[in-house]
Symmetry: D3
Subunit: 218 residues, 6 copies
């Protein structure tokens, strides 16, 4: 029997984990692997700074080691914290949502745009995409400049997403990646409003995990 795909929310905000789980409901299919969304108890309430991102690495490694029933892991924070460390200890594939979101978008368009939460993360994302060797296909990143909390809640979020999305289209983006784990609820309406593919990175990572897990069944 195939073990679950374990999706880890590295912050300790259970509401975020619950939102992830709802966004992944369509990926729970008859006969397919379970999709377990878990909260990293040791994580900060939100991950916004570099130091917070580094704080979760060792707890993530410990969790990955503990969950030896998993068939794959997804680290559901857009900084992909601990991706190298978790990969070095996991016997199964580990997906980071930034990497997966970007790769999924590259299958849908030539030049992509990143909708960030805060412009403070732009540099971190850029370094990561350059490390991936795909920066030549990135039209740009623009930030909502709202807090994670606001984006989760605020009524103005969708309007702001539209604004930022259109600005990225002006920069040349032909598909967008939502640069945050908690905005899946806006994916479809934004895609509808803008007329170009919009990728939720957690869904993208889970689809890739599903692909890896199901391929092993043949």
């Amino acid at each position: 029997m195939t073990g679950p795909i374990v999706v880890i929310n590295p912050n300790s905000n259970q509401a975020v984990t619950d939102g992830l789980s709802r966004a992944l409901e369509p990926f729970r299919l008859g006969g397919g692997p379970a999709i377990d969304c878990v909260t990293l108890a040791e994580g900060p309430f939100g991950i916004e700074s570099q130091v917070q991102s580094d704080e979760v690495v060792l707890p993530l490694v410990a969790l990955v080691r503990r969950r030896d029933d998993a068939s794959a892991f997804v680290i559901a924070c857009y900084s992909d914290p601990g991706i190298d460390a978790c990969r070095s200890v996991a016997p199964v594939p580990v997906f980071g949502i930034q990497e997966s979101g970007v790769l999924a978008a590259l299958a849908r368009a030539d030049r992509i745009g990143i909708v960030g939460i805060s412009s403070l993360s732009e540099r971190r994302h850029r370094l990561y995409m350059r490390r991936m060797g795909v920066l030549g296909r990135v039209a740009g990143e623009r930030a909502l400049n709202m807090s994670v909390d606001e984006t989760a809640r605020g009524a103005g979020t969708f309007a702001r997403l539209g604004e930022v999305g259109r600005a990225l289209m002006g920069d040349g983006a032909e598909a967008l990646v939502l640069g945050c784990a908690g905005m899946a609820v806006h994916r479809a309406p934004l895609e509808e409003a803008l007329g170009i593919p919009v990728i939720d990175p957690t869904q993208a990572a889970v689809a890739q995990a599903l692909g890896a897990v199901l391929a092993r069944r043949m």
Copy 2:
């Protein structure tokens, strides 16, 4: 209701289509979209040359236009023939197995290797990967130099896959893409033998199609 993912075998060899369908069996899940594998009647019996690859473009476009029930398309020939044309007419996502196979491998390793069928295709693949902007992560391509038919049948295929795979590992590859639509049956044993991820590109494309289709359900 979600329409089927339509996987098109652009050559007219039904045995290849049947093989694809078997390789995709694990991706047919309860509540998920159907996965329809269809043969392009107008295609040549096998696609090996550039001209054969170009011959199928218009028939593919016609098929894509006809199948307006599809929720996504997969073009299951490693040259990704007609990918631009099909995308320009399809109202739903179109995936090429070369592009999808390469992107899936990039989520599993830093440098990847391509196991080609014939060294005659190496240049075509290289140009396509440079167009994708990911050539910097390709350790190399090496060919089995067997006919598609031989690879489908021949007892020596697996041994040759091992040889070529190990040579690519020597070139620096940390994951492999099978550069052909019809070798899924060898994926798992080769992965086992080599100890690094091996990607079947049709499975990879279907996983990405599944991701796009399921995301629309939320």
Copy 3:
């Protein structure tokens, strides 16, 4: 005796072919190869979409096979349709005007700009230039957004060329490529008006064909 350089207009508009022939008149020199401009009878009246571009590939291959007297071929549509297929069957060099135009411009300036006809082609050209590995030297592409027909005829064309050319200079372009087979008549006046090199891609391709053909005489 050296055979003719065969310049193929892949659309079926004879007026375009006649214009090409006039633009190439200066390249018909005493003792040099003939320059035959031919119309692809099977082509659409104009090539604007991806599908139209793909429609001409097999007829081009057939024509190339038929014209075994040619010393070189030039495919005179800026999408370079069928370039790979024609090269795979021709025993003599085949030049595409996009590739040749871009390479000619790179010998005249560091960063180049492309004057497109329609912004719908921008993505196609970008993918082709990335495939060529030269995108790092492209300052940008901007489109006239006039129909091929209008550009061939309209009085406003030159004014619009000036506008678009100056905008590309603002983007950093130090030489321009006219991204269309039928604008040679504007080349010299535009170069004069802007003060930077302007390349007609058909002339560029024929010059390169001439170079290849003449080199064989020594």
Copy 4:
């Protein structure tokens, strides 16, 4: 009336200039521009080191300023000495044979190889091709490691060219550039022997100059 294309041999060896002139004989066509091959009197007898290459810059600039009848210039030394300075003072196009040779090869094959004279120049050529932004298409450079004089004269030159050319094909080269002004005589036989395009860079530069000059006649 169109002025001559002035081809400058930056070394003071008249025999080299005479060889250049013979190699360019096929480019002298009825009604076309004259092709004047001139020797830089102030140049060293041969240019092999970086300092020798720098020594000819100011004399080249002076010559370019003097020859105000030229319709284009070609600097016929594979280091392209003084190319930036000459371009900054010439009112007409200036072509360097390294740049032109490389660009001509890129129109004939995807990956190219450079046949150098001495491995001491490999670094200089690499820096120049990286500056051009085309290093991603260079399979490699390999040197004859014979003196310019030997290559001009020696019976073993052709055999050595074949050896080096085949080694470059092993590196992935699909076309070759002769990395020296004086080997045109070997171009056709080498192309014949290896079965891939071989470019003489001076012929390539003159073809490009011809293209620029003739285009102005329309």
Copy 5:
């Protein structure tokens, strides 16, 4: 008064710190800043794995916060652990020895080679250099495949350095970076033996720190 340059050895092996301090003795000049070499008490005895590298990040951040007298920091482990986090909290420049070593080598040669300790780190270094955008100038990395301890002590180290260095020269390296904090003692003899520049990365980082600190005095 200028505060000290604080060089942090992120492992808890005091002998390594002492060796660093000796290697930096020439950089302690009259009137210049002090160079304080400190041991990270919380670090593992050696840093070889990805997880060990991640373990030191938060202790490094704490140390950087504590040492508010520093005029600059150097993180003296070739993985540059915690470089992003330390930079995000330090009010003064922070240098990582990998980054500094590579940049110093780029000022001495066109293509560089990395002498690693273990081939297990090759991928980590490659990702870091791609993130830096300089991978195009890296001829390769080859490992001694000795433990850090062995390299610090073993008589065979120098011989092995010579072997690996020569192999890298065969790959095209024109300067070498010692990919480890503790091999400064071999720098000069290896440079002498191989005839190309050899960079000790800690010395390189301290020189850059010195540059930053002294520039502020004017």
Copy 6:
């Protein structure tokens, strides 16, 4: 005993040399090498054009040959004139201030901006940085468009530096390089005003020279 670091001002304006010497005063430390600033008598009064830059190459080579007491050379003109030639004859390291300034900035920020004197040099700098392979990390270059003389003297220089620096920050620059040998006096105030690192390239080159020279003492 270690010889002096010889810093060559390639123009013949002694006031510039004197300014360099003052800017380097902090780098003259007890027990460290002397830092000799010398004027190239044969140089033009200022180097602004490509030809002027080429004019100083041979005199620089002669000076480098003459000063056999030097432990390292710095060529203190932002075009790095003669860098290849001087390196080919010097038995000790030669640093160019453009190369050194850019590399120093890359150790301080991800994307850098260049403050040029005149927009006429932008192309020359771009070609040089592309040759270095680091153009992907350059956010842009913007020029003061004042003469060297004005910048050395004029009261408006600092205000203009601020304007240009802020515009580069808008382009994405996170550190700046002063693209001229004579603006060290503005470095600290500009860094203070803008809040990002500002690099004086001559100080950067001398720091790197110091690093190379001091490393040899161990």
